[in-house]
Symmetry: C2
Subunit: 656 residues, 2 copies
C-alpha cells in the first residue's frame, strides 16, 4: 500500500549478554528459544554482536502490527470521525497518519510491547532453559520476557532510532537555524509521538509570542519618557498580564487544532488505547452482560454507592498528601531558604557570598531529591486513574518544591528589603547564567556519560580478551552506540515522568521568573526570548543526537503544566502589584496598617480558593462517568463489526 | 405496552373562532378541513365549544408520536448508552422515561409541533378555503397552520394541563407543606420538562444549603462574644464565601447526576433533537456525500477558513454588543441610580423619601423594558448557535441592567457614606418586603388577569346574545379556562426566554444581596432561607394553578445563571473586604493613598479579566467543533440502522 512500510526499519532492541560461540544444546538455549518465539509471532529479527552484549533488533511487517493492534483492541479514528476498535480486515476504514502510515509511533510501540511480552509458555509443563551452564525454569503461562528480565538475562528493552528519519529531522529541524521558531511539528509527531510534539509546539508558540513583550521591554529600556515614566511600569504590567492570558487561551485553541490534525479524538481518550496488560481485556466478556439489568432500574445502586465512597476516599487521600507536601515545604524548606537569603543579604564580602551559594546549591540538590522521592511514594498511595493522572499529580507536588526554591529568595529581596539591585542581579544570574549553563550541561552531560560508558565497555572487553589482541577495539554497530547513550529520564526519577518534566519545569520557572518580577526588570523578556530560541534547537539536538529514542507517550496536552502556568499568572498579578507599591513608595508614605493588610490577605487567599477549588473536586461524579465509560465501551463492543463493514462498503461505493 | 399510554390525554389545544352552526358548504370550511387533515395525520381530535371560541383538543396515540419522532430524527438514548436516531420499528432499543413512558414531555411536544405544522397543501393547485363568508388561499406546499395563524384564524396553540397528573402534583408537591425542601423532581421533570425541573432542583438544593449560613447568622445575632466579637465578622465572611464555592461545585455534580437519571447524554446535546423546521433534514442527503474527500487531505481548507472567519466576526459582534450594553449601563443608568441614592441619602422627611422611591420605581420600570428590548434587538444580530445560546446571551445582558439597578444604591450607602443603618434598612426592605410582595403579586396578578379575561369574555357573549338569555353564562369547559389563564412569560419579552428568567433573576439578585453584604448584616440569611421555603411552594402553585402549562424546553442546566452566580461570588469577596475595612476603620486611620488605591483597582480588574476571558473565547476553534459534529452526524446517519437492529437483537437475546 505504501512503500515506506515495506522497508524494514528496526524499531526496538533487546539487550542480552554475549553467549559463548558454541553451545552444546542450542534447543535449550534461552535466547535462542526467545528468538525462535519472536519469529513465530511474525517479527523480523536481526541479531547484532556487540563488544560485551548481544542485541536482538526487532522490526514488524504491517500485518503483524495490525493483528497485534486488533488483539489489543486499540481505539482508532475511522473515516467517519468516531473511534472504533481496530480490526485488521477492515483496515481501509481507519484514518492514516499525516505521513501516510497506518499506525502512529505510539501505537506501533504499544503493539511491539504487546507482541514481545505476550510470548508465554503455552504448554502444561515447566520448560527448562539454559544460559551458558545456568538453568532457568519457564513456568506455564509465564511471560518469557518478564522471566528473562527478572532473572537478569535481558538487560534492557529500548526503542531504536530510525536513521533515515533521524537524519532528515536533524537537517530540517535541529540544525535548521535560519527559521527561529518554525518547526516541522508533523514530522516530530510521527517520530517522537504526541507528548513530545506537543511540548515543541508549545515551546515554539511561546517563543513566537515572547517577541512582543521582548520588544516592549527593549523599548522601555531605551526610551526615557520624562514625566510619563511613572505611568510606564503599570502599563507594562497590564500589558504583560493580558499577553499571558491571551497566550494561554490561544494555546488551548492551538492544542485542540493539533489534536484534530493528528486524528486524536479527545472525548474518547478516556478509554486508553495503550495498555500493555491484557487484564482488562479478558475481563470484558463478564462485565458485558451484567450492567444491563441495572440500567433499567435506574437507581444509584450498590455499585454507584461504592464508587461514590471511593471517590471521596480518594479525595481525602489527595488532600492529606497535599497537606503533607505543603507542610513539608513550609516547615522545612521555607526557613532554610529564608536563612540563606538573609545571610546572602547581610554578608559583605563576595567570597562569603560565593561560599554560601555553593553550600546552598549542594544542600538544595539533596532536598529536591528527597522531595521527589517522598512525592512518588505519596502518589503510589493515591488511586489515580491511569499513568497520566499520576504524572500530573507528581508534577503539582514537585513543582511546589521548585516554586519555593526558585522564588522565595527573590520575594525576600524584593519585599522585605526593597532591594531592587540584588533582585535584578539574581534575576540576571538565574535567567541568563544558569539557563545557559543548564543548556550546555543538558547537552554535554549525556555526551560525557556516553563517552564514559563506551570507554568502560571497551576497557572491559580488552581486559577480558587479555593482551593477546593489541589492535584497538571499536564500537562497530549503531545499536550498541545507542545502548550506551543515556535515556530521556526526569531528574526526579523515572517512575511517572520522563525527561519532559525537566524541560517543562525549566519553562515554567522561567515564565514565573519573568512575569512575576516583570515590573522590576522589563528587559528580562529579551533574554528569555533569546534563551528560548536556543532552547528549541538545543532540545532538538539533545533528543536526536545525545539520547536514546524516548518511549512515546500518548497524552496530547501539556497536562498539569497548563494549570501551573495559570497559577503563575494569578501569582504574578499579586506580586507585580506589590512590586509597584514598593517601587513608588520609596518614602514609605503608603503605610498599610495591620488591619487592612489582614483583610487584603484574606481577600487574596479567598480568591485563590475560589479559583483553585474547581481543580480539586471534579464537576462530574465518578459514578456518572464510570457508567458513561462502561456504556461507550459496551456500545463499541457490540457494534464494532457492523459499523466497520458498513463504513468499508461506504468507502468502497465512493471509490467506484 | 404501558397502560398509561393508552388513556387519551389531550395535550395540545388550538383556538379558532366560533363558527355559525350551519355552514352552507362544510367541505370548503377552513377549520373543518384542518380537523380532517389532523385526523388523517393520526391525531385524536376533540372539538369543544367555548363561549366565544372553539377549541380543537389534540391527543396522539403512541404510534403517531413514534412515527413523527422518526421523521424528525430525534436523537434518543438507547440501552447501550449512546444516542441514536429514533426508529419506530426498533422502539425497544430506546430507554424509557423514569415514569415508564417512551417519550419525555419535551419530545412529545416536539412531535406534536411537527405533526400539526407539517400539514401542507400537497396538490399542485391553490385550494380555496372559507371561514364564514371570507375566502382564503392555501398555496401549494404551504403549511395550513402557518397560513391560518398569519390570517388570524388560529388565535393560539398552547399545551394543555393533564388533569390527573396536575392534581397529583398539586397534592404531592405544591400543597405538601410538611417537607420543607423535598420535591418530587422526577414527576416535575416528566410533567414540565427538563429546564423547569432543573430550576426546582436548584431552588431546593439552594434552600437546603441556606440553613447553614442562616443558623450561623442567627447565632451571631444572639450571642455576644465580648472581646472576640471583632474576629467574628471576618470569620463569617470566610465561611460564607467557602459555603458559596462549595455549594456551586456540588450543584454542578448534582446537575450531572440529574442528567444521568433523566437519560440525557450531555455530550450529544450539541446535535439538537428538537427543530420544528424540516430544512436541515432535507439538506442532509447532499451534505452527506461531499465532506469525505476533504477528510483525506486533512488541511484546514476553504471551509475551515471561512468557519474561522465567521468565528472571529461573531466574536467581534459579541464584543461590540457587550460594549453597547456596558456603555448604556454606565453612561445612562449609573448617573440616574446615583442621583436617586444621593437624594434619598440627603432628604430628611420620610414623605420625600417615599415620593422619591415611587418616582424611582416607575422610571426604573421603563428603563428596564427599554433595556430588554435593546438587548433582544442586539442579540438578533449575533450569530448564535441555537435558541439556548441566544437565551444565555440575553440573560447576561439583562442581568447587567438589574445588577446595576439593585446594587449600586447599596454600594453608595455602604462605601460613600459608610451609612450602615441605611444599608441595613434597604437590605431588609428589598429582601423581605419586596420579596414577599413579589411572591404575592406573582400569584395574584395572574389570577386577577384571568378573572378579568373571564369576565370580559362572558360580558361580550352576553352582549352578543342580547338580553334574550337572562341566565348567567358560565365557563363550562376546562380548556377554555386554561385558554384564559396567562402564559408563563418573562417580563422582558417572550422571544428567547420564558418565565424562568424572572424566577432565576429573583434568586440571583437575592443571592447577590445576601452574600455581597453578608458582613453588614449576617441575619439576612435567615430571611432568605424562610423566603425560599415559601418560594418553592409559591412557584409550584403558580405553575400548577395560576398559569397555562408552559412550553417545555430541552436545556438541562441552569445555563448562563451559573456563570452569573460565580461572578457574584467573586464580587462578594471584593465587597465584603471593603465592608470590613469600612466597619473597622471608624476613625479613618487606615487611609489608603491614591497610588495604592490605583494599584489595588488595577489588580482586581486584572483578576476579573483573567477569569472572565475564558468565557469570551471558547477553547475549541469553531472549525474543529464543526468537523467533529459533522462527523458524528455522518456516523449516525450511516450506521443507525445496523446499530439499532444489533441492539434490538442483543436485547431480545437477553430477554430469552
Amino acid at each position: 500500500m505504501d512503500n515506506r512500510e515495506e522497508v524494514t526499519t528496526f524499531e526496538l532492541a533487546i539487550v542480552v549478554p554475549k553467549r559463548e560461540e558454541k553451545d552444546e544444546n542450542p534447543r535449550d538455549d534461552c535466547v535462542e528459544c526467545f528468538v525462535r518465539e519472536l519469529m513465530k509471532v511474525g517479527l523480523i529479527v536481526e541479531i547484532v554482536q556487540g563488544i560485551s552484549d548481544e542485541f536482538i533488533k526487532l522490526a514488524a511487517p504491517l500485518e503483524t502490527l495490525g493483528r497485534a493492534a486488533a488483539e489489543l483492541q486499540i481505539m482508532k479514528l475511522t473515516h467517519i470521525g468516531v473511534d472504533l476498535r481496530f480490526d485488521w480486515d477492515q483496515e481501509p476504514a481507519f484514518v492514516r497518519q499525516p505521513d501516510g502510515s497506518l499506525f502512529s509511533w505510539c501505537e506501533r510501540f504499544c503493539c511491539f510491547q504487546h507482541l514481545i511480552y505476550r510470548i508465554v509458555n503455552r504448554t502444561e509443563s515447566v520448560i527448562t532453559l539454559t544460559v551458558g551452564s545456568i538453568k532457568y525454569q519457564w513456568e506455564p503461562n509465564e511471560s518469557l520476557l518478564e522471566m528473562m528480565k527478572s532473572e537478569g538475562i535481558v538487560k534492557q528493552v529500548f526503542p531504536l532510532h530510525d536513521e533515515a528519519k533521524r537524519k532528515l529531522l536533524l537537517r530540517n529541524w535541529a540544525l535548521n537555524l535560519l527559521d527561529f521558531t518554525w518547526q516541522p511539528i508533523d514530522d516530530i509527531h510521527s517520530y517522537f509521538g504526541t507528548k513530545i510534539a506537543t511540548y515543541f509546539a508549545f515551546l515554539g508558540m511561546y517563543t513566537r509570542w515572547l517577541f512582543f513583550p521582548a520588544a516592549f521591554g527593549l523599548v522601555l529600556q531605551m526610551i526615557d519618557l520624562g514625566a510619563w515614566q511613572i505611568l510606564v511600569l503599570p502599563l507594562f504590567f497590564v500589558f504583560i498580564i493580558s499577553w499571558a492570558v491571551f497566550f494561554f487561551q490561544f494555546w488551548k485553541r492551538k492544542n485542540s487544532a493539533l489534536l484534530a490534525r493528528w486524528g486524536i479524538n479527545y472525548s474518547m481518550s478516556l478509554v486508553p488505547g495503550c495498555k500493555p496488560s491484557g487484564a482488562d481485556i479478558s475481563s470484558l466478556p463478564e462485565s458485558h452482560m451484567e450492567p444491563e439489568s441495572k440500567m433499567v432500574t435506574r437507581r444509584p445502586l450498590e455499585k454507584d454507592k461504592s464508587l461514590q465512597r471511593d471517590e471521596w476516599l480518594g479525595l481525602l487521600q489527595k488532600i492529606r498528601n497535599t497537606a503533607v507536601v505543603v507542610l513539608g515545604i513550609i516547615c522545612l524548606q521555607l526557613p532554610f531558604e529564608l536563612v540563606y537569603a538573609h545571610l546572602y543579604e547581610i554578608s559583605e564580602s563576595d567570597a562569603v557570598k560565593y561560599a554560601l551559594t555553593v553550600l546552598y546549591l549542594l544542600s538544595i540538590q539533596y532536598y529536591t531529591k528527597i522531595g521527589g522521592k517522598v512525592s512518588v511514594t505519596l502518589i503510589k498511595y493515591e488511586h489515580d486513574k491511569g499513568e497520566e493522572s499520576s504524572a500530573d499529580s507528581l508534577v503539582y507536588k514537585v513543582f511546589g518544591l521548585y516554586f519555593m526554591q526558585s522564588y522565595i529568595g527573590l520575594f525576600y529581596h524584593a519585599l522585605m528589603h526593597r532591594n531592587f539591585t540584588t533582585l535584578r542581579q539574581i534575576l540576571i544570574q538565574r535567567l541568563i547564567v544558569s539557563q545557559v549553563l543548564e543548556n550546555l550541561l543538558e547537552n554535554t552531560l549525556p555526551y560525557l556519560k556516553y563517552s564514559y560508558k563506551k570507554f568502560r565497555a571497551v576497557l572491559q572487553r580488552k581486559h577480558e580478551k587479555g593482551s593477546s589482541l593489541r589492535k584497538s577495539i571499536r564500537l562497530g554497530s549503531r545499536v550498541e552506540k545507542e545502548y550506551l547513550k543515556p535515556s530521556y529520564t526526569a531528574s526526579i526519577g523515572d517512575e511517572f515522568e520522563d525527561g519532559l518534566f525537566d524541560d517543562f519545569l525549566e519553562l515554567a520557572l522561567q515564565f514565573g521568573m519573568s512575569t512575576m518580577f516583570a515590573c522590576a526588570f522589563p528587559l528580562v523578556f529579551c533574554f528569555v526570548a533569546l534563551n528560548n530560541i536556543t532552547e528549541i534547537r538545543a532540545d532538538a539536538l539533545k533528543l536526536l543526537v545525545m539520547l536514546r529514542r524516548p518511549v512515546p507517550r500518548a497524552s496530547a496536552s501539556i497536562g498539569a503544566w497548563l494549570n501551573i502556568f495559570q497559577f503563575l499568572i494569578v501569582m504574578s498579578i499579586c506580586t507585580n502589584c506589590t512590586l509597584l507599591v514598593c517601587l513608588y513608595d520609596q518614602e514609605g508614605k503608603w503605610k498599610i496598617e495591620p488591619g487592612l493588610k489582614a483583610i487584603l490577605i484574606i481577600e487574596h487567599v479567598l480568591l485563590l480558593v475560589k479559583f483553585g477549588f474547581s481543580h480539586f473536586v471534579p464537576e462530574e461524579p465518578a459514578w456518572v462517568r464510570a457508567n458513561r465509560e462502561k456504556n461507550v465501551a459496551q456500545a463499541q463492543d457490540i457494534c464494532s463489526k457492523q459499523l466497520l463493514s458498513s463504513i468499508s462498503s461506504f468507502k468502497a461505493r465512493k471509490v467506484d
